[in-house]
Symmetry: C2
């Protein structure tokens, strides 16, 4: 025992004694140290690079001599000559332990290396993708032991990688014999390791040691937009991202109108299925081309969506989702062949993993948000809101998580707004209104200046000032409320009531003019009474959903709010709170998670265990159905006021003093806005 | 305990005590008695019919009172009224145990009922097909427990049938919701239960209790012919059988010429793959139409073939099978989707099971023969020969089984014979030659009379006398040897040597005229010296293969010979022995197994356990490679003589005295037949 050398690995701190002459890689494996190797220790792949430390290590109680590792050998020489080895690095499979030594495993040599995500609030992803490469050396055929080439390949995976029970598609069987012979019985296998009882599938095979990257796609298929991220499956790096409009929009803007289309038009669901699959195929080609990657190298896709998109993508008629009890055709995760989904842009054997749905109204996108934001691991009570055409809402902590969806409609995305438009250059995205002069200033996408900055007119000439996007309308309405142009019931005051000619008559109501470009042949951009109503409906639905979950949870406040969705990233927390979109919390407890659904898809793409995790979590999330809950209606009505008719907003009150105005003259605003005002 | 009633089931003899009121079906299940039920005890399927016995049963020590079972109930009344219940029968799920009783389970109520096969030498098949129907009652969706319809269906299969871990194709998911609602949450599921780790797959689903039969196909894909048997998967009955020529014949008559075609013509393998898959698709349509079955009801196919056909069917280039070491692309069994094989005639979710291959020259057909004939369970030493264009040979007993293949060529099938033809009406199939007059008589296929019977000319007018088939040429050559027209070296004597003008000159050799129809414009059918040589080559290859296995086994005789293959059924054992095709055994120890490969496929179709069994057996069969074994050549040369140059045939000598003749004059026969004669 004392003859053996002491080996200490950092950063793991794992240590053990090994006979001199033991390769570092072997020592690492026997201690369970996370040291990568694709070639299985044959000095080919260079994934097992390590950095030995020499000298005194009082912390570890060890002194490392200059000859603690075997001398640089021919394999390392050759590797260094051809590819170059970083100063101080050795190949773990070649360097042998000759004395006590401290060995550092650099991050890039760890199998389960972390993909560092930019935002501090986001967790890192440990790399362990379902699809990865394995280099094997296969026994040559022997007439006297007449097993097939495939069976000997399977044996090699078992002996060299402890992977048992693999299958292969006929297309792989077809290329197997020439590939093994070309590679002289050495090959790189692209293997998809199934979860649960699912077989491990050989998706592809290449002669010798193949270094080309394997790629996977994380797709967030929304009602309005489809976003795809192409990832390198060994580094986790996002190679390219792209998005396009969901072509199903031509069948209906929102989900229920698409369900109606399917109900009214025989074959309508098939038409929508074809449209969205074609769009995804095109997106795959686009994103691969952007990254300069052969789409044949894309072996896996993880996709998330709401239940209606889930059904339409799978080719299942969504009609049951349009009526109680909102039964899903299938709710658990799915692992499918891309070609069964008519996706032809990727490798023909590519696999598709579909995250589980939570319920008939809370889809795989909500599950992906849960995977990304992990409310089930939160110590404090967190409310996660994924804002889109439907809002998915999660509330909970490590003890219990609730979920619901709420039909906010497309107003938050700038749709159904008189001057609304998608977030694109020229759209007003930020608004401020002077509470004294009632004059607005704004910023448009694509221009760095405010509209009252000198040079704005010149700077905005290229984009124009074309409309108002989702975050712009939220800021505009909130600013109008703060400036006393809109009262708590949502009524816009007239020019006399507000003291500004910008509140001009608009039919039997009023509209606030943000920008008048008509003199130069441009648009007049105003916030109309109808716009306010649309935003009120949307924010009431959102708030009522959150409130319903709080009731069910038995809490009257939350500790933290996370706004998810591409749109969530652009919402100003203060304005959201003024509108009463979200429950009252200290402003610094409102976080943006960006496209959390897309991030969840990416996590599931890069980490197999995350699939087990979310499948298990989804079964523990308790679904609350807003559509049949009588209290939802009550919460919805109360939430119509800005910020709210009943609930106090003490945290908001600390930072904003909302003017007490009322423009209800019992007549003019009544036609549209005459819902009886409650005391706020 | 003594309050409980004693229940004895026959024929199993299983017995147990049960509380009064226990349904018979439940008692049967708890004792593990094989009593069928598709509807799970709901009085729908009537599969659980039983016959109670009343009165004294001294053998069982029990007296059964008239009221030992509950009274006939409304469900049984209704069933009897609508369908009729056989006298004395009860429904096992309805009849309750009220006192001691003896209950007989009739064969048709057993799940694992036996399909009785006609021949006494053949074993019966226990019914347990991989694909069968299950009736389930599915929980209705509940908004508050938002699982998908599929997950509740899976749950029903688990709760009601103890079947866990099912998957379903997208096409099943697509029809799931309407079917469950139409059947009011009752449905019949067509389930394919995978072997090993393979998932159980829902292939189809029907509303309510569906009674239409499920069908499966057993296919024997030979080099020359393709045979298919359509079976009812619940009764095991063969509903229709059909066969057609393998269209690959146009690419080459024998296997090696097809391998050459693939090597010489790029894409040639793809062409052959397409041809054979199309042929099988056509055969499926034909056989289903013959049985009056919708091909959509065909959910499974089991297929066997030699290795070259195996590769070409799977779409794998067979080039490696044409050269040492004869490596198979894959040797283990395969479970595939029919649609991945471009088979479209069956149900779109139909499964295809491919039996394992034994080696590069010994295919899944040989495995099927082993499954059917079970040499591995034989007490005595049995030689199983599957005679075709290649002969597959198995030798062994319960301790050890050896296998080889031997390239006999097509002579045994009537090809490469001067007047040869396939076995069809008009072909000479039986031959006798009078040893004194040297005059022949024969029978042709399609005519019941011998050629010397009065009325033969009239009877054979419809068919004509067109040629000689495989069994005919074997009998002709053996009869010529017995009549002294051919010597042990295979030389045909001249008219002077033999004393008959029928041995007429034919080039530098002689030919024996069996039939001369030239006067009536018909053919002259003769056995030429070339024909004898072709038969000698074929039979030498067959015998040498068998002898090689006997050497390897260390035996100099076998106890029993089984001739398999469609052709084997027509070979006369005596004539086969005179020719020296098979080792010397008592004539009553030679059996015909018919199309044993097809039978093996049918067994695997109807019994899941048989798949495990043959997969396991194949790994224990030891393959002997004839192509590289020097002793094979020696055996081959020695087997050229008729019956043999070296081996004694004592059993043959007991029944036949072969004339000692020699026609080798050192000249005339030498050109073709001059191989030096050894002492016999």
């Amino acid at each position: 025992m004392s003859e053996d050398a002491l080996v200490i690995f950092t950063p793991s701190g794992k240590r053990g004694r090994f006979a001199t002459g033991t390769p570092v890689l072997q020592a690492a494996r026997s201690l369970g140290v996370d040291l990568d190797s694709v070639c299985g220790g044959r000095g080919i792949c260079s994934k097992c690079q390590i950095t030995p430390g020499y000298g005194e290590f009082p912390k570890h109680g060890v002194t490392v001599a200059e000859d603690a590792l075997s001398e640089w050998n021919a394999v390392e020489d050759r590797y260094n000559r051809i590819r170059g080895l970083k100063e101080g690095r050795r190949l773990g499979c070649q360097a042998k332990i000759m004395g006590d030594v401290v060995i550092d495993v650099p991050p890039e040599s760890q199998v389960h290396k972390q993909v560092i995500r930019k935002s501090a609030t986001e967790r890192d992803i440990a790399m362990d993708p379902a699809t990865r490469s394995f280099y094997v050396e296969v026994q040559e055929p022997d007439m006297h032991i007449p097993t097939g080439d495939f069976e000997r390949l399977a044996r090699a995976l078992k002996d060299q990688w402890q992977i048992d029970g693999v299958t292969a598609d006929l297309s792989v069987l077809r290329k197997l014999q020439p590939v093994l012979r070309k590679g002289e019985w050495k090959a790189t296998v692209v293997l998809h390791r199934g979860n649960h009882d699912e077989a491990h599938r050989i998706l592809d095979i290449f002669p010798g040691f193949a270094e080309e990257p394997l790629c996977g796609l994380a797709v967030d298929l929304g009602s309005t937009t489809i976003a795809a991220h192409l990832c390198d499956l060994s580094t986790g790096k996002v190679l390219a991202s792209s998005g396009l409009m969901n072509p199903q929009i031509r069948f209906g803007e929102d989900l229920m109108s698409r369900v109606s289309y399917a109900m009214m038009n025989p074959g309508g669901d098939v038409e929508m299925t074809r449209a969205v699959r074609e769009a995804i195929d095109n997106l795959i080609r686009a994103v691969a081309s952007e990254a300069g990657i052969d789409p044949e190298r894309v072996y896996e896709m993880v996709i998330v969506f709401n239940p209606v998109m889930h059904h339409l993508f799978l080719g299942v008629d969504p009609v049951e989702l349009g009526q109680a009890p909102f039964a899903l055709a299938t709710s658990d995760s799915l692992s499918l062949d891309a070609r069964d989904l008519d996706l032809t842009a990727m490798n023909r054997n590519a696999r598709v993993y579909v995250l589980p749905c939570i319920a008939g109204h809370v889809g795989a996108d909500a599950a992906a948000v849960a995977l990304s934001e992990e409310p089930d691991k939160s110590k404090d009570m967190v409310l996660v809101v994924d804002v889109g055409t439907n809002a998915e809402i999660l509330l909970g902590n490590e003890h219990r998580v609730l979920a619901c969806s709420s039909p906010t409609g497309p107003a938050f995305e700038g749709a159904q707004i008189s001057s609304g438009q998608r977030a694109a250059p020229g759209a007003i995205e930020r608004v401020e209104i002077d509470p004294v002069t009632k004059e607005p200033r704004f910023r448009v996408i694509g221009v760095d200046l405010w509209s009252d900055d000198p040079g704005f007119a010149g700077a905005s000439r290229a984009t124009g000032i074309t409309g108002i996007c989702g975050s712009g309308i939220i800021e505009a309405v909130a600013e109008m409320r703060m400036a006393g142009l809109v009262d708590p019931s949502g009524l816009i005051g007239g020019p006399e009531q507000t003291g500004t000619p910008r509140c001009e008559p608009h039919g039997r109501t009023h509209a606030y003019v943000l920008y008048d470009g008509t003199a130069e042949g441009g648009p007049k951009i105003a916030v109309t009474q109808g716009d306010i109503r649309a935003i009120q409906l949307a924010k009431s639905a959102l708030y009522a959903g959150a409130r319903l979950l709080m009731d069910e949870m038995g809490v009257d406040h939350v500790d933290r709010v996370v706004l998810a969705g591409a749109f969530g990233a652009h919402i100003s927390p203060k304005h959201a709170m003024v509108l009463g979109m979200i429950p009252d919390v200290p402003l610094d407890r409102v976080f943006s998670a960006g496209n959390a659904a897309g991030t969840g898809a990416r996590i599931a793409l890069l980490n197999r265990a995350a699939r087990d995790q979310i499948e298990e979590t989804v079964h523990r999330i308790h679904k609350v159905e807003t559509a049949i809950e009588p209290r939802f209606q009550e919460h919805f009505v109360n939430a119509n006021a800005i910020p709210h008719a009943v609930d106090p907003f003490p945290e908001l009150a600390k930072i904003v003093q909302l003017p007490e105005v009322s423009f209800n003259t019992g007549g003019s605003g009544g036609a549209e806005g005459g819902r009886r005002r409650r005391r706020g």
